[in-house]
Symmetry: C2
Subunit: 155 residues, 2 copies
DNA sequence: TTGTTCTTGACAAGAATTGTCAACATAATC
DNA sequence: GATTATGTTGACAATTCTTGTCAAGAACAA
């Protein structure tokens, strides 16, 4: 339960962009196709842009597209961007681990590091090309999305 | 960075109890030997007790000890007790996953589930007997702990 | 009865998360 | 140039989680 909503939303947006090879997608479209509040994507997309992962164009016919091949964007890159270190605990990060008076001979830390490495290995081994290749359902067929906004037919 | 302090503290306390095969350890001793604030252990230990992992005795000569063999207490059990589900995200828990309109054909969720399973596999494969067998430093030799409380010799 | 120890519940301070909004900048089109 | 469509930015409120602390109470032994 440690992947934040923003991380979730960012990966969703990138998966849709990976599936939409060509033209730019507007923020509104992107929000609709990923079932993400547009107001949150407003925050998420600029972060992806600053990181060089997506590119944007303004004005009519503007929108977002990938800034590099989907095969070159790993899940690790994106999760790191929004989550920071992937270690489950501060004493087990690879860079600048949090000091702990019990770290010497600590076998608990060994396990935390194994979890960290397994996580990195999995996230680092998956690109958005991989994710796009096997995606289905509403990902490839937007009409399968309920798109139930404010008020359903009730009254 | 998803393992909470309380989880950290609980596992530390259990590791020390596993190393101290025999007599009960008082809360104060346990706090000292694990470098954990006693006031927090006051909250953590009863949780371990209610879960049947440790046993307690009150009065003088009281304290805590393991309620079962260290080889029968897995890290998974303890982490679950304090963290809840081990999945990185709500849609990927094994029981009652959080519903998501994008779950059909979602390859992202596949990866989250792989991370969940790898985490469970690692945590489930380690017992406190394993952890105790290889521990060293201040874990086996408490005198190596700085135990620097309020005011060091400075004046 | 006294002293030691665990037990419980309430709590405050702080941090992180989540979602929203308004004002602004840029680009195309009329 | 005016207008419209779009991304950009920063501030923000509400909520929830985390962390540590404390005081009063219950059990046990001497």
């Amino acid at each position: 339960m440690w992947v934040s909503r923003r991380t979730d939303y960012a990966t969703r947006a990138l998966l849709v962009l990976s599936l939409e090879g060509g033209g730019p997608l507007k923020l509104e479209e992107l929000a609709g196709r990923t079932a993400v509040p547009q107001s949150v994507l407003e925050q998420v997309m600029p972060t992806l842009r600053t990181a060089g992962i997506v590119r944007s164009e303004r004005g009519p016919a503007g929108g977002y597209r990938l800034n590099k091949a989907a095969a070159e964007i790993t899940l690790e890159r994106v999760v790191r961007l929004f989550q920071g270190p992937l270690a489950p605990i501060g004493c087990a990060t690879r860079h600048n681990p949090e000091p702990c008076p019990m770290s010497l001979g600590c076998t608990l830390r060994d396990v935390w590091e194994e979890i960290r490495d397994a996580t990195i290995s999995l996230l680092g081994g998956v690109t958005f090309a991989d994710l796009a290749a096997r995606a289905g359902g509403p990902w490839t067929n937007p009409s399968l999305l309920a798109t139930a906004p404010a008020e359903p037919a009730a009254g």
